[in-house]
Symmetry: C2
Subunit: 277 residues, 2 copies
Amino acid sequence: MEIIRTVAEMRAWRKQAGKLAFVPTMGNLHEGHLKLVAAARERAEKVVVSIFVNRLQFGQGEDFDAYPRTFDADCAKLAAAGVDALFFPTERELYPRVRQDFNVEPPHIQDELCGAFRPGHFRGVATVVTKLFNIVQPDLACFGKKDYQQLHVIQAMIADLNSPIEIVPVDTGRAGDGLALSSRNGYLSAEERAEAPRLYRNLSMIRDGLLSGSQDYAALENAARDDLAAAGWTVDYVEVRQADTLEVAHAGEKRLVALAAARLGKTRLIDNIEVFR
Amino acid sequence: MEIIRTVAEMRAWRKQAGKLAFVPTMGNLHEGHLKLVAAARERAEKVVVSIFVNRLQFGQGEDFDAYPRTFDADCAKLAAAGVDALFFPTERELYPRVRQDFNVEPPHIQDELCGAFRPGHFRGVATVVTKLFNIVQPDLACFGKKDYQQLHVIQAMIADLNSPIEIVPVDTGRAGDGLALSSRNGYLSAEERAEAPRLYRNLSMIRDGLLSGSQDYAALENAARDDLAAAGWTVDYVEVRQADTLEVAHAGEKRLVALAAARLGKTRLIDNIEVFR
């Protein structure tokens, strides 16, 4: 596996890569990332993964500095998974003047759901993904459904800015007890880890309610919020939304997604389940 | 010359085009545009020109509806100039949902100079150029220095978002009396046309002052403003700025540009002269 640290080398490598699939990550790789790599491998001649912890998408007081950097272990996993190249730029390489002057500005959805709790997060995501896409120039890129709102923002951006890149959504990887795989799970104490699957259990109950015909989304959301709060979680949101647009869902909607974000101690976890009924 | 009206056809054509140069325009082509085409031809195997009057970069009360559409004459000029393909999309093709949700947001320079008089203009330019670049995927693109602030915004955007496209600046085409070629010159009455070169004459006087060593930019700017106002113009701005950044110029600066925008009757004219001393 080639390790590429500069924009110029990445562009040169890309020229000889044929049909190219791209998996952008922030590193600290787990089985969820390797599912993205596997999806990429199936669809292209070559696979490039990037590791870049993007300061632009972290807010004040968020975990940018604490975010786990595990480069050697990540390299071993990617090489074993058959990745052809790892793009691993420094901050100075991607932000040579420190500040980013031009930003890709998403519409109002960037201020809802996770965006309401992470101001500027989706602008930072849209902007760095645009930069990485311009550098790597892949034919397709794989994103996990675990970050459902991020996937939506990127799909909408690609369509709206006519970007020539196919976005491949990949199902969320889960532990045996249902917990969505996430780098932030590493922040959990043993006790918190045992408690963490409650988020998925509550989303599953919402799914079951929706599949059995409930149109009272607020009742389902409130039950989940109450259960989490009673178990000591601080709930950012639990919401049933339209799966395709992430707009507020009205009764009768057939393609839905239940999304939640909640904090267990200092760790913020997110998860979601699509419900097509 | 091939005439291409859809994004899908444009992408398909691009795949077989080899090294490709791109000249985005709003049509109503004059010799200034043909200089851009000539610069493009020198640098690539194939040349594509787009004609699209981009509603997004016109403000309320501006001349979007009145902007001259001269498709047949434009086609004849482009074919004669050896252009390989003309991309001529409808509004519905570029803005299928009418509104544009994702925008490329330039930094503060978008609110200065022309931007102070045309709110949202440079956001509209940056966004449509991003869309056109994503559709056409050229190796290089030619822009006129006549729209100096636009050229700056696009060069800065390309660098900041790591876009893999070379931007080629092309000198302003001028009539024999110095007037910068512009589609908007067609709005001028015979009397206004005779008066119009005063803008260039005043910029030339600023150039001469700068070259003879003046550091008092305000005095040079004020003399030009006064001369234009006395001749019946409404002056939007006359400013000496740093050529490379368009930031405010301080005494002693060596790479300068004098820029002006002023209205003659209902017609808004812009022009500029670079001064490297």
